[in-house]
Amino acid sequence: MSENLWTRCNNCQRILYKEDILENHSVCPACGFHFRLSASERLAMLFDDGRFDVVDHGVCPLDPLKFVDSQNYGQRLEESQKKTMLPEAVVNAVGTMGGIKVIIAAMDFAFMGGSMGSVVGEKITRAVERAVKEKMPLIIVSCSGGARMQEGALSLMQLAKTSAALARLEEAKLPFISVLADPTTGGTTASFAMLGDINIAEPNALIGFAGPRVIEQTIKEKLPKGFQRSEFLLKHGQLDDVVPRKNLKNYIVRAMRLFLNRPQ
């Protein structure tokens, strides 16, 4: 038996045939655990026939603060670029979903935890502006630990920049569907991820402003079970729905048809 044909589910610990997971949209066939998707897997899953054109690919990060912790930020960027084969933590792409021309910005957690620095902010903003210019619905799939510390306040300002762009999308009366995947926290949640006409999440995704550890240390109490998970947010009125991955595309297409008044 070849080792790499098999994998262990992070949740139920069962040993599973990799092919079975992939055929099941990277969801564990035994327990329903949603494995994290890369940006390209996400785009391939959402666009019709898995076909799309990547845009804004040339926007690349710099190390404006010359930030050094245990490693140079520049080195970290290079490593992430090598590992993911991506220039940054978000990919913008244009294509059709259910025959409707849309732009999707999909974040990739493998690139420095999907954190938002100048480039992620710029690309999200460009995706919004392209939606306005070409009168397309916008879909953002968030998967991010928040603002990127290594770009300091420049990262923080991306919250303002992306949200301001979304205010213009709203004035243009175009739909924005925000999909929150595990995890979506910090500055990403406190900006574009929570500003959809509808905000939906995959099951059991960690979603919040502050990280659970920070909250625990602040209040010095144990956190309630299921705290900051999709189902918890739905119950507290912070999400429109929790949508399992296998229904995600269909859900988004249905929502767009309703928003655009375009029955099948």
Binding site: V119, M194, I219
Partner: protein, 318 residues
């Protein structure tokens, strides 16, 4: 942190000089004016020795100084007839932020100020200036009223960050901040933001989108607190100084990065040594900025506000 790095140790000579001034101020005696002037000069001399070598960590200590003027001090000294309004009409009133209307230079303004407490009891009541979602929604209610009546908004920032609590998450802390960012960006009246102390991350930015963003010289503005950054990237609290250094949180750094428009000078020793002078310095910038913004046609104001934030970020196009 060792003693020599501690700002509270460094400032001792200045505090002693200031105490002498205060004592002189209490009673009339011959040569009082000259004596005070001489002591002020001494403060300036002491400050000139300390100031150029201050580290970002020490700036953070000044920004968090328990005697530093807080939002209500500015409001009460610079404005008249301040009328506080309370509550978000949805859940509660948030004492970590004061909102209301006042006359400034004879004109109605809407004012928002993150508020810390002075005594232990007040500090707890004000939640150390850490807002909950209802605070952001109270501020939102205020700015929508300002838009309705055509008043400019003055927003004073001084917070370690938005409150990380269970209730805050349940009630949508992230959404409350995000929604403010969106609404402030297209609000059809001028917004003037002044960072007077701590500019703590999204918690600060949630009332911090405006046409003009200025900063007191010894305040700081940061994506995460130096302590938070040290805990995540260095995994220890001995690296707080390094984190503060690396993140470029000081006014002059942020000015160079195009994040703030102006630095408001502080008197020798910092704002807390001479609050009266600090109020004057803030007053000057505030009134000049408002005058300029109020003359702008609305569409121009809004386009410039959009472009101001649109341009923020440093990257390369390949």
């Amino acid at each position: 942190m060792n003693v020599s790095e501690d700002f509270y140790q460094l400032e001792k000579p200045i505090v002693l000089l200031k105490e002498q001034i205060n004592a002189l101020d209490l009673n009339e005696e011959p040569g009082k004016k000259e004596k005070i002037a001489a002591l002020r000069l001494d403060i300036e001399r002491e400050w000139a020795k300390i100031y150029p070598n201050l580290t970002p960590t020490q700036i953070v200590q000044i920004a968090r100084h328990p005697k530093r003027p807080y939002s209500l001090d500015y409001i009460n000294n610079l404005m008249r007839d301040f009328m506080e309004i309370h509550g978000d009409r949805r859940f509660a009133d948030d004492p970590a932020v004061v909102t209301g209307f006042a006359f400034y230079k004879g004109e109605s303004v809407a004012v928002i100020g993150q508020q810390k407490g002075r005594t232990t009891r007040e500090r707890i009541e004000r939640n150390f200036g850490q807002m909950n979602p209802e605070g952001y929604r109270k501020a939102l209610r205020l700015v929508k009223m300002a838009e309705k009546f055509g008043f400019p908004v003055i927003s004073l920032i001084d917070t370690p960050g938005a409150y990380p609590g269970i209730g805050a998450e349940e009630r949508g802390q992230a959404e409350a901040i995000a929604y403010n960012l969106k609404v402030f960006s297209i609000l059809r009246v001028p917004i003037v933001v002044v960072i007077i102390g701590e500019g703590g991350s999204g918690g600060a930015l949630g009332i911090g989108v405006g046409d003009s963003v200025t900063m007191l010289e010894n305040s700081f503005y940061s994506v995460i607190s130096p302590e938070g950054c040290a805990a995540i990237l260095w995994k220890d609290q001995n690296s707080v100084a390094q984190a503060a250094e690396n993140m470029k949180i000081r006014a002059q750094d942020l000015f160079a990065l195009g994040i703030i428009d102006k630095i408001i000078p502080e008197p020798a020793g910092g704002a807390h040594i001479d609050p009266e002078q600090t109020f004057k310095n803030v007053d000057k910038v505030l009134s000049q900025t408002l005058k300029k913004l109020e003359q702008k046609p609305k569409e121009e104001l809004l386009e410039e506000r959009y472009q101001k934030f649109r341009k923020m970020g440093i990257y390369v196009e390949k």
